[in-house]
């Protein structure tokens, strides 16, 4: 009897072990086909909201919609309704995934070019490699688990593609996402970072373009620092970063005497005048040696740079003032009912030349700035002449009107006198 019981126990144990040790079905389903498994089924019915939450957002998760089940990250056997089997360590169930292992775990698929090709022919697969070079990746490698890993930015459950406007890495939301850590001055102080970068960025023209104009091409944190390989650009590479978009400015700066001078002084190129995060709309009034002007931070009164700055500022002020005056005159004539098409074209021409003059400031060449301001003044003179001609025409029309009104009034008086004489 004892032998039988022993035999039965051994057989049952072996059978159970065999069942538990059986290979789990693949967690990777057909791309584009939504996965339904026992994980979502059970977790959505749990009373504990912490355990129920992942199941509630699972429907919109990019992985589940592409056929990758929960087991793809957490392991286990999603085909079993028995939780002891589904979440058995013997079937690879890992439960909560540790922060340090997250990049490698995500990278196990996302760095596999052959595998990712199933989902999109152009999907990048260098995220993990870039992450390892980033400040975040380097700190994590040293054991700092306070730094950002994949889930810090993309979320954990309910991960959306970056092109989805609800995704935390969508252009209009990424600033807030980075700001969750980088806006925390206490946390950032541990890394020697001020923690005011996000609030400073929000004062910038870039943020205004992003939010006010909904311009998704406006630069955000990742545009300058990189996304997965996030690192502050070094002094020598600042102009490369800005020059990615501001090509003309970069080209002119490279031709200017400032390029070598800034390099010698270990000064970042664009940032020295425009700042880094709080990049404000540039003003012509910045040029000069005064307290609130920028040239005085390097140049001394009377030196070549100060003299050039004064000439550039004067040329720009002259053109700007002429533009304001002429525009007002043309608009006044237009309001009087005259068509000012030719003047409008000239005004546009002048404005374009003026913008070019502002661009030439980056060369620090007085001659190049003045050649554009002269072109602007020439176009403005033509527009002004056109407005003057229209004003003369208005005066002529009004004089003509008064003459005709006088003739009409005289005719009326004569007629009335005639009628009176007839009816007397």
């Amino acid at each position: 009897m004892t032998d039988r019981v022993l035999t039965a126990t051994v057989v049952l144990t072996l059978a159970t072990a065999a069942a538990l040790a059986a290979p789990s079905p693949s967690p990777i389903g057909t791309p584009g086909k939504h996965t339904e498994d026992s994980c979502v089924g059970c977790h959505s019915k749990l009373d504990d909201s912490r355990l129920r939450a992942p199941a509630e957002v699972a429907k919109s998760d990019i992985h589940l919609t592409q056929g990758v089940s929960c087991a793809g990250c957490h392991g286990g056997d999603p085909s079993s309704d028995d939780s002891s089997v589904a979440m058995s360590p013997a079937r690879g169930f890992t439960g909560k995934i540790g922060v340090r292992t997250i990049p490698e775990m995500c990278g196990s698929c996302h760095s596999n070019a052959a595998f990712m090709l199933r989902y999109s022919p152009n999907i990048p697969t260098d995220q993990l490699a870039q992450y390892r070079t980033s400040k975040h990746g380097q700190a994590l490698a040293k054991g700092d688990t306070n730094v950002a890993v994949c889930t810090s930015c993309h979320g954990t459950h309910g991960i959306l593609p970056p092109s989805d406007a609800r995704s935390p890495v969508y252009p209009t939301r990424i600033v807030e996402t980075c700001g969750r850590c980088h806006g925390n001055a206490a946390l950032m102080s541990r890394y020697g970072i001020k923690g005011d970068e996000v609030s400073e960025y929000k004062r910038s023209v870039h943020y205004a373009a992003l939010v006010a104009k909904n311009d998704l091409s406006a630069p955000t944190c990742k545009s300058c620092h990189g996304a997965h390989g996030a690192t502050p650009p070094g002094i020598s590479s600042v102009s490369n970063v800005c020059g990615t978009c501001h090509l003309s400015q970069r080209e002119r700066f490279d031709q200017s005497p400032h390029k070598d001078a800034f390099a010698a002084l270990q000064q970042p190129a664009c940032e020295s005048c425009h700042s880094n995060h709080a990049i404000l709309h540039p003003q012509d009034s910045w040029i000069g040696m005064g307290d609130k002007q920028i040239c005085g931070s390097c140049h001394s009164a009377g030196d070549v740079g100060a003299t050039a700055a004064a000439s550039i500022a004067s040329a720009l002020a002259k053109a700007s003032s002429a533009e304001v005056t002429t525009l007002a005159r043309v608009q006044r004539v237009e309001r009087s009912g005259m068509l000012m098409d030719e003047a409008t074209v000239k005004l546009e021409e002048a404005h374009q030349a003026f913008v070019m003059a502002q661009l030439e400031i980056h060369t620090a060449s007085v001659g190049r700035v003045e050649s554009q301001t002269k072109a602007a003044l020439g176009a403005l003179t033509a527009a002004d002449k056109s407005a003057a001609g229209a004003e003369a025409e208005i005066r002529y029309r009004r004089s003509g009107l008064f003459v005709s009104l006088a003739v009409i009034a005289l005719a009326m008086v004569l007629l009335i006198l005639k009628i009176r004489a007839m009816e007397r």
Partner: protein
């Protein structure tokens, strides 16, 4: 002088014109405290003549295609000598003509001149006002600017609400599903050929009826008209009317010089409608009323109901000589006088309120 006399005798011999001269010489206009009302019809005729003259001048340069219409008007007002004046006078005169026609219609109504035997004069006048409004509606689109394009789209869209024939009418007016170059060509045809032809015929009838029946003396003023010496039509009334016409001319010249009619921005059929689209001022009272009516009233579409009420109102106004039975016996019904004042108050108040931006 002798040559002129001989020329006149030659004409009279052939066409028997002497009775006409006899008629004109003896034609008289009654004189009483409301004689001023007799001048509005003539003033409307003056503005119509201005429209014909300036319209013909504009025709010399205007090109009725969606590609060239705007540019041709732009050319007229910028390059053609006095083109700005002709175009501005045409636009202002169109509006003053409608205003003068409304004044003429209400003065005729309040003085009871529609009553028997002048029913046909009232009806032809009513039709002429409809034609004037048609001139305005079709002419509004011709410069092919943004405002006129979208206002025409809304205006023509209203006819689609007409039961049964709505879709057909819409297509007939637009020359297709939407307002396009085909609509412009069509409206141009209506504006310079169809409407002028009908107007000329109706105007001839209207004037002939007035000459045949003479001026109406309003009820209660018969005694006054008898005691005061009537005004001889030739030349006294004609000279008086000339003073009024000169006043109209002065108003036109002043408006054209001080408030030149704007050209606006060229229409872009693919752009979204700009804010503040509105029809000409004489449609504003209907436009604002239709906007105030709820989307559905007792299961009927609000806009359809509004248009139905306007249609019915127009019919009642047209049939006033028949409906106001008292007027046929020389005693106007008080209810119709009240109706007239209410209608005038409604049109004036809604138009002014709309212009003042009350409905925005």
């Amino acid at each position: 002088m002798r040559m002129l006399e001989e020329f006149w005798q030659a004409l009279d011999e052939r066409f028997d014109l002497a009775p006409l001269v006899e008629f004109a010489t003896h034609k008289e206009v009654p004189r009483h405290r409301h004689s001023w009302a007799y001048y509005f019809g003539g003033l409307t005729l003056f503005f119509f003549l201005v429209q014909i003259t300036t319209g013909i001048l504009l025709l010399l340069y205007y090109r009725p295609t969606s590609e060239a219409a705007f540019e041709s008007v732009q050319f007229i007002v910028t390059r053609v000598p006095f083109g700005w004046l002709v175009r501005s006078v045409h636009s202002w005169s169109a509006n003053l003509m409608i205003l003068s026609a409304f004044a003429h219609m209400f003065s005729v109504y309040f003085l009871g001149s529609y009553a028997k035997p002048r029913e046909l004069t009232w009806w032809s006048g009513f039709a002429l006002l409809g034609l004037a409004v048609g001139f305005g509606f079709s002419g509004y689109l011709l410069p092919w600017n943004e405002l006129s394009f979208f206002a025409t789209r809304i205006g023509t869209d209203m006819v689609s609400k007409v039961p049964f024939a709505g879709a057909w009418l819409l297509k007939f007016l637009r020359g297709g599903e939407d307002v396009t170059g085909a609509t412009l060509t069509r409206f141009f045809g209506f504006h310079v050929a169809v409407l002028p032809m009908i107007t000329a015929a109706l105007l001839g009838l209207h004037l002939a009826l007035i000459q045949r029946q003479g001026m109406h003396v309003p009820e209660g003023l018969e005694e006054e008209a008898k005691t005061r010496k009537p005004i001889p039509f030739v030349p006294n009334f004609m000279l008086r009317e000339s003073v009024v016409w000169l006043l109209g001319l002065a108003a036109l010249a002043a408006l054209a010089a001080f408030f030149p009619w704007e050209l606006g921005v060229k229409a872009d059929p693919f752009a979204s409608a700009p804010a503040g689209i509105h029809p000409e001022w004489y449609f504003l009272f209907m436009f604002e009323t239709l906007k105030l009516i709820p989307a559905h009233v007792l299961g009927i579409e609000g806009e359809l109901l509004g248009l139905g009420v306007f249609g019915l109102g127009g019919l009642v106004w047209f049939l006033v000589p028949v409906l106001d039975r008292g007027s046929r016996k020389g005693h106007r019904t008080r209810a119709f006088l009240v109706l007239g004042w209410l209608l005038l108050a409604y049109i004036v108040s809604f138009t002014l309120a709309s212009l003042a931006g009350v409905f925005k």
